[in-house]
Protein backbone atom coordinates (compact mmCIF):
# COMPACT_ATOMS: atom_id res chain seq x y z
CA UNK A 1 0.00 0.00 0.00
CA UNK A 2 1.48 3.44 -0.91
CA UNK A 3 2.68 5.55 1.99
CA UNK A 4 0.35 8.36 3.12
CA UNK A 5 1.53 11.94 3.15
CA UNK A 6 -1.01 13.63 5.39
CA UNK A 7 0.96 16.89 5.81
CA UNK A 8 1.07 17.49 2.09
CA UNK A 9 -2.51 16.42 1.49
CA UNK A 10 -4.18 18.24 4.39
CA UNK A 11 -4.53 21.50 2.44
CA UNK A 12 -5.36 19.75 -0.80
CA UNK A 13 -8.28 17.71 0.46
CA UNK A 14 -10.65 20.70 0.55
CA UNK A 15 -9.70 21.64 -3.01
CA UNK A 16 -10.15 18.09 -4.30
CA UNK A 17 -13.45 17.57 -2.48
CA UNK A 18 -14.94 20.82 -3.80
CA UNK A 19 -13.64 20.09 -7.29
CA UNK A 20 -15.19 16.63 -7.43
CA UNK A 21 -18.46 17.56 -5.72
CA UNK A 22 -18.97 20.56 -7.99
CA UNK A 23 -19.18 18.13 -10.90
CA UNK A 24 -21.67 15.70 -9.38
CA UNK A 25 -23.22 14.41 -6.19
CA UNK A 26 -21.27 11.65 -4.41
CA UNK A 27 -21.22 9.76 -1.13
CA UNK A 28 -18.08 9.22 0.94
CA UNK A 29 -16.89 5.87 -0.44
CA UNK A 30 -17.55 7.02 -3.99
CA UNK A 31 -15.69 10.27 -3.33
CA UNK A 32 -12.67 8.43 -1.88
CA UNK A 33 -12.50 6.34 -5.07
CA UNK A 34 -12.82 9.45 -7.19
CA UNK A 35 -9.98 11.18 -5.30
CA UNK A 36 -7.73 8.19 -5.94
CA UNK A 37 -8.71 8.11 -9.61
CA UNK A 38 -8.18 11.81 -10.35
CA UNK A 39 -4.87 11.94 -8.47
CA UNK A 40 -3.68 8.71 -10.13
CA UNK A 41 -3.22 7.34 -6.59
CA UNK A 42 -0.39 9.81 -6.00
CA UNK A 43 -2.30 11.37 -3.12
CA UNK A 44 -3.20 8.71 -0.64
CA UNK A 45 -4.96 9.60 2.57
CA UNK A 46 -6.97 7.58 5.04
CA UNK A 47 -10.39 7.36 3.42
CA UNK A 48 -12.07 8.10 6.74
CA UNK A 49 -10.26 11.44 6.88
CA UNK A 50 -12.56 12.80 4.20
CA UNK A 51 -15.53 12.95 6.55
CA UNK A 52 -14.39 15.61 9.05
CA UNK A 53 -13.58 17.87 6.06
CA UNK A 54 -16.93 17.09 4.41
CA UNK A 55 -18.83 17.91 7.60
CA UNK A 56 -16.92 21.13 8.19
CA UNK A 57 -17.50 22.24 4.59
CA UNK A 58 -21.19 21.50 4.98
CA UNK A 59 -21.37 23.53 8.22
CA UNK A 60 -19.72 26.41 6.33
CA UNK A 61 -22.47 26.17 3.71
CA UNK A 62 -20.08 25.09 0.96
CA UNK A 63 -21.69 21.66 0.59
CA UNK A 64 -25.17 20.32 1.09
CA UNK A 65 -26.11 16.75 1.81
CA UNK A 66 -29.01 14.38 1.60
CA UNK A 67 -29.46 10.99 3.21
CA UNK A 68 -30.54 7.84 1.42
CA UNK A 69 -30.64 4.17 2.36
CA UNK A 70 -29.21 1.76 -0.24
CA UNK A 71 -29.47 -2.00 0.42
CA UNK A 72 -30.11 -1.23 4.10
CA UNK A 73 -26.98 0.92 4.40
CA UNK A 74 -27.31 4.64 5.03
CA UNK A 75 -25.54 6.85 2.52
CA UNK A 76 -25.05 10.58 2.77
CA UNK A 77 -24.66 12.22 -0.62
CA UNK A 78 -22.86 15.55 -0.90
CA UNK A 79 -22.73 18.21 -3.58
CA UNK A 80 -21.18 21.67 -3.78
CA UNK A 81 -23.40 24.71 -3.26
CA UNK A 82 -23.02 27.99 -5.15
CA UNK A 83 -20.80 29.27 -2.29
CA UNK A 84 -18.78 26.06 -2.55
CA UNK A 85 -18.18 26.66 -6.26
CA UNK A 86 -17.08 30.24 -5.53
CA UNK A 87 -14.65 28.96 -2.89
CA UNK A 88 -13.39 26.36 -5.37
CA UNK A 89 -12.64 29.04 -7.95
CA UNK A 90 -10.70 31.01 -5.34
CA UNK A 91 -8.78 27.93 -4.14
CA UNK A 92 -7.94 26.91 -7.70
CA UNK A 93 -6.58 30.37 -8.42
CA UNK A 94 -4.46 30.27 -5.22
CA UNK A 95 -3.24 26.78 -6.07
CA UNK A 96 -2.26 27.76 -9.63
CA UNK A 97 -0.28 30.75 -8.35
CA UNK A 98 1.47 28.68 -5.66
CA UNK A 99 2.17 25.90 -8.13
CA UNK A 100 3.59 28.35 -10.70
CA UNK A 101 5.76 29.92 -8.02
CA UNK A 102 7.13 26.56 -6.88
CA UNK A 103 7.75 25.47 -10.48
CA UNK A 104 9.55 28.71 -11.11
CA UNK A 105 11.69 28.28 -8.00
CA UNK A 106 12.55 24.71 -8.92
CA UNK A 107 13.37 25.79 -12.46
CA UNK A 108 15.76 28.47 -11.22
CA UNK A 109 17.46 25.95 -8.94
CA UNK A 110 17.79 23.45 -11.75
CA UNK A 111 19.54 26.03 -13.93
CA UNK A 112 21.84 27.32 -11.16
Amino acid sequence: MPRRNSTFTSGVSELLILRLLSEREMYGYELAKAVQAVTRREIRLGEGLLYPTLHALELEGLLRSRRESVSGRPRIYYRATASGRKRLAKLMEQWRRASAAVSSALGEKAHA
Binding site: L49, L59, R73
Partner: protein, 239 residues
Protein backbone atom coordinates in the same frame (compact mmCIF):
# COMPACT_ATOMS: atom_id res chain seq x y z
CA UNK B 1 -17.18 -4.72 11.56
CA UNK B 2 -18.16 -5.18 15.21
CA UNK B 3 -20.70 -2.63 16.49
CA UNK B 4 -18.22 -1.33 19.08
CA UNK B 5 -15.31 -1.06 16.63
CA UNK B 6 -15.37 2.72 16.91
CA UNK B 7 -16.12 3.04 20.66
CA UNK B 8 -12.64 4.30 21.47
CA UNK B 9 -12.66 6.73 18.54
CA UNK B 10 -16.04 8.05 19.67
CA UNK B 11 -14.74 8.68 23.17
CA UNK B 12 -11.62 10.45 21.88
CA UNK B 13 -13.64 12.68 19.57
CA UNK B 14 -16.03 13.63 22.37
CA UNK B 15 -13.16 14.32 24.76
CA UNK B 16 -11.59 16.48 22.05
CA UNK B 17 -14.70 18.69 22.09
CA UNK B 18 -16.39 17.47 18.91
CA UNK B 19 -20.16 17.93 19.19
CA UNK B 20 -22.03 14.64 19.84
CA UNK B 21 -24.22 15.15 16.75
CA UNK B 22 -21.11 15.44 14.58
CA UNK B 23 -19.50 12.43 16.27
CA UNK B 24 -22.58 10.24 15.64
CA UNK B 25 -22.70 11.28 12.02
CA UNK B 26 -18.98 10.71 11.54
CA UNK B 27 -19.24 7.22 13.04
CA UNK B 28 -22.29 6.40 10.91
CA UNK B 29 -20.37 7.29 7.76
CA UNK B 30 -17.21 5.52 8.91
CA UNK B 31 -19.19 2.34 9.60
CA UNK B 32 -20.85 2.48 6.18
CA UNK B 33 -17.50 3.18 4.53
CA UNK B 34 -15.81 0.36 6.44
CA UNK B 35 -18.56 -2.05 5.36
CA UNK B 36 -18.06 -1.04 1.71
CA UNK B 37 -14.28 -1.50 2.03
CA UNK B 38 -14.83 -4.90 3.65
CA UNK B 39 -17.05 -5.98 0.74
CA UNK B 40 -14.38 -4.77 -1.69
CA UNK B 41 -11.60 -6.71 0.04
CA UNK B 42 -13.74 -9.85 0.35
CA UNK B 43 -14.56 -9.60 -3.36
CA UNK B 44 -10.79 -9.67 -3.98
CA UNK B 45 -10.74 -13.02 -2.25
CA UNK B 46 -9.26 -11.93 1.08
CA UNK B 47 -10.22 -13.99 4.15
CA UNK B 48 -12.57 -12.15 6.54
CA UNK B 49 -9.96 -11.28 9.16
CA UNK B 50 -7.47 -9.96 6.62
CA UNK B 51 -10.24 -8.07 4.82
CA UNK B 52 -11.31 -6.48 8.11
CA UNK B 53 -7.77 -5.41 8.94
CA UNK B 54 -7.15 -3.96 5.47
CA UNK B 55 -10.51 -2.15 5.50
CA UNK B 56 -9.75 -0.61 8.89
CA UNK B 57 -6.28 0.41 7.75
CA UNK B 58 -7.61 2.04 4.56
CA UNK B 59 -10.01 4.06 6.65
CA UNK B 60 -7.11 5.65 8.56
CA UNK B 61 -5.96 5.26 12.14
CA UNK B 62 -7.91 6.66 15.08
CA UNK B 63 -5.07 9.15 15.62
CA UNK B 64 -5.36 10.47 12.07
CA UNK B 65 -9.15 10.72 12.15
CA UNK B 66 -9.14 12.47 15.55
CA UNK B 67 -6.44 14.89 14.41
CA UNK B 68 -8.34 15.70 11.23
CA UNK B 69 -11.60 16.26 13.14
CA UNK B 70 -9.91 18.48 15.74
CA UNK B 71 -8.48 20.63 12.92
CA UNK B 72 -12.07 21.68 12.11
CA UNK B 73 -13.31 24.22 14.70
CA UNK B 74 -16.80 24.10 13.15
CA UNK B 75 -17.21 20.52 14.38
CA UNK B 76 -16.67 21.47 18.03
CA UNK B 77 -19.57 21.86 20.46
CA UNK B 78 -20.46 25.29 21.82
CA UNK B 79 -19.39 24.14 25.26
CA UNK B 80 -15.92 23.28 23.93
CA UNK B 81 -15.62 26.58 22.04
CA UNK B 82 -17.06 28.94 24.66
CA UNK B 83 -16.98 27.05 28.00
CA UNK B 84 -17.27 30.18 30.18
CA UNK B 85 -20.39 31.44 28.42
CA UNK B 86 -22.09 28.08 27.89
CA UNK B 87 -21.20 26.35 31.16
CA UNK B 88 -20.71 29.11 33.73
CA UNK B 89 -22.98 31.96 32.59
CA UNK B 90 -25.79 30.43 30.55
CA UNK B 91 -27.26 28.17 33.30
CA UNK B 92 -27.84 30.97 35.89
CA UNK B 93 -29.02 33.36 33.16
CA UNK B 94 -31.33 30.62 31.86
CA UNK B 95 -32.70 30.04 35.36
CA UNK B 96 -33.37 33.75 35.74
CA UNK B 97 -35.12 33.92 32.35
CA UNK B 98 -37.19 30.81 33.12
CA UNK B 99 -38.31 32.17 36.51
CA UNK B 100 -39.07 35.68 35.21
CA UNK B 101 -40.91 34.23 32.20
CA UNK B 102 -43.05 31.95 34.36
CA UNK B 103 -43.91 34.70 36.84
CA UNK B 104 -44.72 37.10 33.99
CA UNK B 105 -47.03 34.46 32.50
CA UNK B 106 -48.70 34.06 35.90
CA UNK B 107 -49.20 37.82 36.26
CA UNK B 108 -50.56 38.10 32.73
CA UNK B 109 -53.27 35.48 33.38
CA UNK B 110 -54.41 37.10 36.64
CA UNK B 111 -57.00 39.39 34.99
CA UNK B 112 -58.54 36.61 32.87
CA UNK B 113 -58.66 34.12 35.73
CA UNK B 114 -60.88 36.14 38.03
CA UNK B 115 -63.70 33.58 37.81
CA UNK B 116 -61.54 30.79 39.28
CA UNK B 117 -61.98 29.85 42.90
CA UNK B 118 -59.37 30.86 45.47
CA UNK B 119 -58.56 27.16 46.01
CA UNK B 120 -57.68 26.76 42.33
CA UNK B 121 -55.53 29.88 42.46
CA UNK B 122 -53.78 28.64 45.57
CA UNK B 123 -52.94 25.31 43.95
CA UNK B 124 -51.65 27.00 40.79
CA UNK B 125 -49.62 29.64 42.61
CA UNK B 126 -48.04 27.13 44.97
CA UNK B 127 -47.12 24.92 42.04
CA UNK B 128 -45.41 27.88 40.38
CA UNK B 129 -43.74 28.84 43.67
CA UNK B 130 -42.40 25.30 44.00
CA UNK B 131 -41.13 25.37 40.42
CA UNK B 132 -39.40 28.74 40.85
CA UNK B 133 -37.86 27.88 44.23
CA UNK B 134 -36.90 24.22 43.65
CA UNK B 135 -37.96 22.83 40.25
CA UNK B 136 -36.25 25.30 37.93
CA UNK B 137 -32.87 25.37 39.76
CA UNK B 138 -32.79 21.56 39.72
CA UNK B 139 -33.91 21.47 36.07
CA UNK B 140 -31.21 23.95 34.99
CA UNK B 141 -28.59 22.06 37.01
CA UNK B 142 -29.67 18.74 35.45
CA UNK B 143 -29.43 20.21 31.96
CA UNK B 144 -25.95 21.54 32.74
CA UNK B 145 -24.82 18.18 34.14
CA UNK B 146 -26.24 16.32 31.15
CA UNK B 147 -24.55 18.74 28.75
CA UNK B 148 -21.23 18.40 30.58
CA UNK B 149 -21.26 14.59 30.66
CA UNK B 150 -22.49 14.01 27.10
CA UNK B 151 -19.82 16.37 25.76
CA UNK B 152 -17.11 15.10 28.15
CA UNK B 153 -16.32 18.69 29.18
CA UNK B 154 -13.77 19.52 31.84
CA UNK B 155 -15.27 20.22 35.26
CA UNK B 156 -14.09 23.72 36.33
CA UNK B 157 -16.54 25.89 34.33
CA UNK B 158 -19.56 23.60 34.68
CA UNK B 159 -18.85 23.43 38.42
CA UNK B 160 -18.84 27.22 38.66
CA UNK B 161 -22.07 27.32 36.62
CA UNK B 162 -23.63 24.74 38.93
CA UNK B 163 -22.63 26.62 42.10
CA UNK B 164 -23.99 29.89 40.66
CA UNK B 165 -27.24 28.28 39.48
CA UNK B 166 -27.81 26.60 42.83
CA UNK B 167 -27.01 29.85 44.69
CA UNK B 168 -29.32 31.91 42.47
CA UNK B 169 -32.09 29.36 43.00
CA UNK B 170 -31.53 29.45 46.76
CA UNK B 171 -31.52 33.26 46.88
CA UNK B 172 -34.80 33.49 44.97
CA UNK B 173 -37.72 34.59 47.12
CA UNK B 174 -41.40 34.20 46.41
CA UNK B 175 -44.14 35.50 48.68
CA UNK B 176 -47.89 35.49 48.31
CA UNK B 177 -50.48 37.40 50.33
CA UNK B 178 -53.96 36.16 49.47
CA UNK B 179 -56.71 38.75 49.07
CA UNK B 180 -58.95 39.24 52.07
CA UNK B 181 -62.07 41.32 52.56
CA UNK B 182 -61.08 44.86 51.68
CA UNK B 183 -57.40 43.95 51.20
CA UNK B 184 -55.93 43.27 47.79
CA UNK B 185 -53.73 40.19 47.35
CA UNK B 186 -50.03 40.56 46.62
CA UNK B 187 -47.49 38.48 44.79
CA UNK B 188 -43.82 39.29 44.99
CA UNK B 189 -40.65 37.58 43.87
CA UNK B 190 -37.01 38.55 43.77
CA UNK B 191 -33.44 37.62 44.53
CA UNK B 192 -32.26 38.54 47.99
CA UNK B 193 -29.75 37.67 50.64
CA UNK B 194 -30.25 37.94 54.35
CA UNK B 195 -27.88 37.56 57.32
CA UNK B 196 -30.75 36.30 59.45
CA UNK B 197 -29.76 32.78 60.56
CA UNK B 198 -33.15 31.25 59.67
CA UNK B 199 -32.82 32.69 56.17
CA UNK B 200 -29.23 31.43 55.99
CA UNK B 201 -30.24 27.90 57.00
CA UNK B 202 -33.07 27.97 54.44
CA UNK B 203 -30.61 29.22 51.79
CA UNK B 204 -28.12 26.49 52.71
CA UNK B 205 -30.75 23.75 52.50
CA UNK B 206 -32.05 24.86 49.12
CA UNK B 207 -28.52 25.31 47.77
CA UNK B 208 -27.54 21.86 49.03
CA UNK B 209 -30.72 20.25 47.63
CA UNK B 210 -29.90 21.46 44.12
CA UNK B 211 -26.22 20.50 44.43
CA UNK B 212 -26.93 17.02 45.81
CA UNK B 213 -29.49 16.34 43.06
CA UNK B 214 -27.06 17.56 40.38
CA UNK B 215 -24.11 15.57 41.75
CA UNK B 216 -26.33 12.48 42.00
CA UNK B 217 -27.21 12.78 38.33
CA UNK B 218 -23.55 13.42 37.47
CA UNK B 219 -22.42 10.27 39.26
CA UNK B 220 -25.13 8.18 37.56
CA UNK B 221 -24.32 9.53 34.11
CA UNK B 222 -20.56 9.10 34.58
CA UNK B 223 -21.12 5.48 35.63
CA UNK B 224 -23.12 4.95 32.44
CA UNK B 225 -20.31 6.42 30.32
CA UNK B 226 -17.67 4.31 32.11
CA UNK B 227 -19.76 1.15 31.61
CA UNK B 228 -19.90 1.89 27.86
CA UNK B 229 -16.10 2.50 27.87
CA UNK B 230 -15.49 -0.84 29.59
CA UNK B 231 -17.71 -2.65 27.07
CA UNK B 232 -15.78 -1.04 24.22
CA UNK B 233 -12.42 -1.97 25.76
CA UNK B 234 -13.56 -5.56 26.34
CA UNK B 235 -14.58 -5.82 22.68
CA UNK B 236 -11.10 -4.70 21.59
CA UNK B 237 -9.07 -6.79 24.06
CA UNK B 238 -7.98 -10.07 22.42
CA UNK B 239 -8.87 -13.24 24.30
Amino acid sequence: MPENEFASLKERLLRGGIAPRQVERLLLELRTHAAALLDEEMARGQPLEVAQAVARSRLGSDDEIVRKALEQPALKSWGARWPVVVCALLPPVGLLALSVGTLSALVSVLPVGQHLSQASWERGVWLIAWLVLYGFPILCSFLLVRYTVTRRLGLPWPLIGLLLTAALGAWTTFTVAWPQTGVQGRLSAGVGFSTDWVALVRFGLRWATTLVAAFGLYVLMRRGVQAVDRTGDAMRTPG
